[in-house]
Amino acid sequence: MTQQVAKRELTMSRAMVEAIAHEMRESEDVFYMGEDVADYGGIFDSTQGLLDEFGYDRVMDVPISETAYIGAAVGAAQAGMRPIAELMFVDFFGVCMDQIYNQMAKNTYMSGGSVNVPMVLTTAVGGGYNDAGQHSQTLYGTFAHLPGMKVVVPSNAYDAKGLMHSAIRDDDPVVYMFHKRLMGIGWMPAPEGPKTDVPEEDYTVPFGEAAVKREGDDATVVTLGLHVHRAMEAAEGLADDGIEAEVIDLRTLVPFDTETIVQSVRKTGRLVVVDEDYRSFGLTGEVVARVAERALDDLEAVERVAIPDVPIPYARPLEQAVNPSTADIAEAIRTVHE
């Protein structure tokens, strides 16, 4: 009996770890620092299994001193190493942002390009499990807004691995934001979609290239992270009603792929931007502005679907009220389609 030999599938966390392990094997300069990254393997499995292969010297548990160890990653990177530092939840950036945006992000520019900071800052983002105001944010816009950091947001295992290879090899600082809900952790089940076929060999996903996840002529949906999967679900549902939405996964915010979005809007004339970050002064406004600058004449209707300007609440009905759902996205697509 002849059988089709399917490729293996991986969860997003395993794909991410595979890229890190590969780069650590290739170069002694690559090492990982963070809280609970050694024995625990990362609270969200971001370093699962690395300790066994590389030991405590290269998979380093550090004190709860984010200013010190993220700043130390900057210094080690400037000394020629390629550190990966993990901020356990992006919400904790408040205690260490100075090292991130005044050192990591600016040193290359302030030195007139004579210094580079080839480090990766990994961090867990996102809500959807009722962890309230200090553990549920994405803050995509905050990091993308401040100049000097490349910012990537994988939505699936294939991209997670390729973007991690690109991030570690990049000579600039890269903020790698992984959504907890997409990691495929046993105790936090993922939606359908983020687990994908992943090649065993190394490969890169280039920065600045959005992915068209679904083609359609009726509306363009631009999103990232967890909401790629919600947008796909919404689009599939609307297809039954004859509405074909094109879904674009941004994948990287800095650099930003304006061209793919503009091309799509020239075709559809209708734009929906979906974001799990706050609505005002953020990603949704940025995407709309870029399209308006380039393709205003083609733009017939715009909707933004994002977290309203309140902190993330705790109780389930409250969090559900603020975090964009599949139904919210479908409604926005219908609105621009009308």
Partner: protein, 365 residues
């Protein structure tokens, strides 16, 4: 010498806190078998329980008045109970209910009870600066109120804590910093993240008293805290106390503790601060019947709180859009004085929620 009555009060507080955590654990794990799913069950979100930490809460808070401020950590319930936080409304908050302390917005890591000046925060060492601020307010206003900042031993390397020690010392503020040393910062044993043997040594660099209580003996904690609180009330400045406690449960309820030797868990359970205090009370002539009475009363109070909380309504989704500012515009509309009844209800801080609360929230839109 600690009076028998004080000892009995502390015992009741500790038994209440222990039973509370054990009961919350049961409730939390409902719907999370056979596989643990953080999103399932009656209690939303993460849950960090403090079983084994009770002596550090009871021994310190026994000296506090409602006017004194306490800031606790992501593991706050035992301290909240010892500080006299409204147990029913705290429980309703943990269950994500509308009549909870924070109307279901904060949850178990973000409990606020201004009636007894209690607050907690989910990020390491975040409570220290606000405690310093409460103490600063007390000093400026000339009261004898004090502030207590709780933190774990994992927090002693965090900048916010160290800066707070310095500010409190240099301003001679009435603050008591209390480190609960349970040996583990999630999976990180103390020895791997600091070279000092005791967290109380952090005080040395700021020229303030640093005292360690080597085992979680509620009486020793009580006596140490007595000196620190009196010192603060008298205007003589801050003190740092570290108490050895024991983590009887995982860091959070989804923590399989694969990193932790089984013997360490067993040891934590064997060294039980509540049993220690019970033995002490027996030596003082308190009978097992007396202890059982205290225990029964504590358990009854916990059961009542949980039962009440579970009967409370969930928040109306529209309430998500209120409270970001005081007297908020709801979804872009300004709530006029004349039509602000609903907004007033959302602001209600009554100890007992109004009956009408469940029905009329969030109609402004």
């Amino acid at each position: 010498m600690v009076s028998v009555n004080t000892r009995k009060r502390m015992y009741e507080t500790m038994v209440t806190a222990r039973h509370y955590e054990e009961r919350l654990q049961e409730e939390y794990l409902e719907g999370k078998q056979p596989a643990f799913d953080i999103s399932a069950g009656p209690i939303p979100g993460e849950l960090h329980l403090a079983a084994g930490h009770e002596a550090a809460a009871a021994g310190v808070c026994a000296h506090l008045r409602p006017e004194d401020t306490v800031t606790a950590t992501h593991r706050p319930h035992h301290v909240a109970i010892a500080k006299g936080v409204d147990l029913k409304r705290m429980t309703a908050e943990i269950f994500g209910r509308r009549t909870g302390l924070c109307k279901g917005k904060g949850g178990h890591m973000h409990l606020f009870d201004p009636d007894v000046n209690f607050a907690c925060s989910g990020i390491i060492a975040e409570g220290s600066p606000p405690a310093v601020g409460a103490a600063l307010a007390a000093k400026k206003r000339g009261t004898t109120d004090v502030a207590v900042s709780y933190l774990g031993e994992g927090a002693i390397s965090q900048g916010g804590f160290l800066e707070s020690l310095n500010l409190a010392a240099v301003q001679n503020l009435p603050v008591v910093f209390v480190i609960e040393d349970n040996d583990w910062a999630i999976s990180m044993p103390k020895g791997r993240v600091t070279d000092v043997e005791n967290g109380s040594q952090r005080a040395d660099g700021f020229d303030m008293p640093g005292v360690r209580v080597d085992y979680d003996d509620a009486l020793a904690v009580y006596e140490t805290a007595h000196d620190a609180v009196e010192r603060a009330r008298a205007g003589n400045g801050p003190t740092l106390i570290e108490v050895q406690v024991h983590r009887r449960m995982g860091h959070f309820m989804g923590d399989a503790e694969g990193y932790r030797p089984k013997e360490d868990v067993e040891r934590a359970k064997r060294l039980d601060c509540i049993e220690r205090l019970a033995d002490d009370l027996r030596e003082e002539g308190v009978t097992d019947g007396d202890l059982a009475e205290l225990t029964d009363r504590a358990h009854e109070r916990v059961e009542e709180a949980i039962e009440w909380a579970k009967e409370q309504p969930e928040p109306d989704p529209e309430e998500a859009f209120a409270d970001v500012f005081v007297n908020p515009p709801v979804r872009g509309e300004i709530v006029s004085d004349g039509g602000a009844d609903d907004a007033d209800d959302l602001e209600a801080t009554d100890a007992e929620p109004r009956e009408s609360d469940a029905d009329d929230g969030g109609e402004d839109r």
